[in-house]
Symmetry: C2
Subunit: 445 residues, 2 copies
């Protein structure tokens, strides 16, 4: 059973509201926008990802006969709702920022325009799809900024939160600029380069570590990486040196060693020395084991001669920030702008556009959030991507999304390239504050 396939993967209140909307013929066009209310601590920017899967979800939205029978038999809903759901397809418009775009708090990255019951139904799963990749792409971007020029690989499937989280983490981190992933399915589904070495269990299954290295090398001679920390890392490195000539005689080159435990600064330095003195100056050192962008920064500042990193759990769970304060809010219904005034959770009403300006060096220098029709200076970031339920253009290639992200990270203002700062100016346009005041005046409270 694919839990992502059924539109019943939603909150009950969506169906409750749909019932009430249908009962009162409240089916006029609604506009919802998805945005992050507040950047989390330690995120100076976010990187957009997940749009492609969101559009897939919308395009494929339909209730199976099995879903409909189950809903009907639950006795919770009227036949008007069941009939409505039977015919339901996503017929709305979608405006979005392209994947691979940097964005900030309060900037919509997705806008849905659709009949109210439909626009309401999709809220839960849309958020569930998009947040996941936003988290991982943004975390991955931090890791890349911490380790310029290093090979970064996603190793985190095992502790990602389920199947979809693992697969989409591979996609989102690749978009951000990772070289690839260990997740095999990500190659099959997305064509993402995959990387793999060996586990400690392989070494442990043989009583002799050197014999285990040799066996593995003969079976897996390409891009050979040996894991050397199962028992004693330096001894492991010396075994690699001892083994290399015999392997070379068979045409097998050791490409790298992997360290997965211990003091990675001291060990990488001593392993580097052992390899260099053993004539293996070309053998790279790859590190893994509970690393995040702070650990990587620390290692590189201390001069650890590490050439690449396997980023696991901290990447795929976005461990320091495992959720975003992201919301999907009604901005307009039946032609009138709407807003929420709940304490601390007020929203800006109406359809919005984000305008970005750049300095002479091409660095981002500030955004303006305006009412959609209020033309401002700079580049508008939201574009129509789906109209009447159909994509207006073919999806961009993953490689192009990745190239966009790379360019975007280059265009970040310098302070945002550090891991701690949050100081990008997002200005609220006059048109928007005026609109908010009008909405407040209209509401009978």
């Amino acid at each position: 059973m694919d839990p992502g396939k059924s539109p019943l993967l939603t909150d009950l209140y969506q169906l409750n509201m749909m019932q009430a909307y249908l009962d009162h013929a409240d089916t006029k066009a609604a506009v919802f926008e998805f945005f992050v209310r507040k950047l989390p601590a330690r995120r100076g920017f976010l990187l957009n990802a997940g749009l492609e899967q969101a559009l897939d979800f919308l395009e494929q939205l339909r209730f199976s006969s099995d879903d409909l029978e189950w809903l009907a038999s639950s006795g919770r809903f009227g036949t008007n709702l069941i009939d409505y759901l039977r015919e339901l397809r996503f017929t709305g418009d979608v405006h979005a920022m392209p994947e691979g775009t940097v964005f900030f708090a309060n900037e919509p990255i997705l806008r849905i325009t659709a009949p109210l019951p439909l626009a309401q139904l999709i809220e839960t799963r849309l958020m569930n799809i998009v947040q996941l990749q936003l988290l991982v792409a943004s975390k991955a971007a931090r890791m890349l900024l911490a380790a310029p020029g290093k090979l970064m690989v996603d190793f985190g499937l095992r502790r990602a939160h389920g199947a979809e989280a693992g697969l989409m983490a591979a996609r989102a981190s690749y978009i951000a600029g990772f070289a690839g992933t260990a997740t095999v399915l990500a190659d099959k589904v997305f064509g993402i380069p995959i990387f793999g070495t060996m586990a400690h269990s392989f070494i442990e299954a043989h009583d002799d570590e050197k014999a285990a290295f040799e066996m593995f090398a003969r079976s897996r001679p390409d891009n050979l990486t040996l894991l050397i920390d199962t028992y004693d890392t330096q001894a492991g490195a010396r075994k690699v040196v001892a083994l290399a000539p015999a392997l070379a005689a068979r045409g097998i080159t050791v490409r790298a060693v992997r360290l997965d435990s211990g003091d990675l600064i001291a060990l990488s330095k001593s392993v580097r020395r052992i390899l260099d003195q053993g004539g293996l100056a070309d053998v790279r050192i790859f590190a893994s084991g509970g690393l995040d962008e702070d650990a990587v920064t620390h290692l590189l500042r201390a001069g650890a001669p590490i050439d690449g990193f396997g980023m696991g759990t901290s990447l795929t769970t976005s461990s320091d920030v495992p959720s975003l304060d992201c919301v999907y809010k009604l901005q307009e219904y039946a032609g009138l702008p709407r807003r929420k005034q709940s304490i601390g959770k007020e929203t800006w009403p109406g359809r919005k556009q984000v305008w970005r300006t750049y300095d002479h060096a091409g660095r981002m220098c500030g955004d303006v959030l305006s009412v959609e029709t209020d033309q401002q200076e700079g580049e508008p970031l939201l574009h129509l991507v789906m109209q009447g339920g159909r994509r207006v253009a073919a999806s961009p290639k993953l490689a192009d999304i990745r190239a966009r992200a790379e360019r975007e990270l280059m265009r970040l203002p310098e302070p945002l390239r550090r891991l701690e700062t949050q100081n990008y100016p997002v200005e609220v346009g006059q048109s928007l504050s005026r609109l908010a005041a009008e909405v407040d005046k209209r509401l009978r409270l």
Copy 2:
């Protein structure tokens, strides 16, 4: 595409190792155990969940012809591996702690005995499946301990990490003792009670809040809960009071109001007063909005008259602890116990059993971790659940797992019922330390 269905949802190194194992006929029986190396900060215990889905995964394990063709066409693997994968089914044994059991660091909750390449392949997805539910069940247990007697409902699908995470969070929190979930699919798939109210968008879609309440009430009269914080919470409560007689005349009873923002202590008290003075003493107050077990503790200590809680993101992402230091380690191969000695990551070798003793009041008072055959005092917690790839008994009903979890939480030692302590004694039996010493002696290092 269901990413959880393909055995390609694994790390490349598993396939690399399988290739090497097959090339060298290393296909003898291996024993792997899954355990948590160290309890995270602020977790005095963990609650087992996810076994059912792990067994489903094992039972359904097979490579589709599509998977096999893709693997073959990748050029990475020998035909011996492709042929092996074509016929591969899970033929091993599984020992496990029942779902709903409390457990501690270093205690295996799952043991796989299977031919080495097979046991290796399944590592990644098995961990991915099990960790997810462990995280949520354990987080949910904390929330329940913080709010005895309160109605707790999972509201967290939208910010769970993907589809599977959202659905399984509903299951895991229900096992722990939650009353139910907002996730509709969890009712269809697992029969978990579902709960749902209304969103702010429903109120905002109508310019008049009271009219919105009335419309909703007439369409959704059962278990009616009204969301009263869209504009002004106290005004919202007064509108409910004003509306109640007209609704009662139509046979509709307001059951609850929901607060989702602001100072929940002050607001719940004033709303309680408004409702009571308005003759609505039976109307319950339900709270939601970024709550976790600490917030709930704080609210209840301050005397907030809240009857139930919707727990969202903090539950489904296990926000303070979004991953466990869980591992799946080779403990025996070809009849010989194995262990890893990597710095800080040493493991206890061999097949293990966990023995639990209770005091006269029935509270857990300590565990012993021993070699499987070393009979100790107390109750053994690991049992054979799958033999030769088949379940040895029908799966327990979800209600029974939930009842077990409830009993287990009752049997927790008093200090572990608080949110901060970690002091449960798990002793390593002499048989195990002796075995570790023997393994170390055997290894040629």
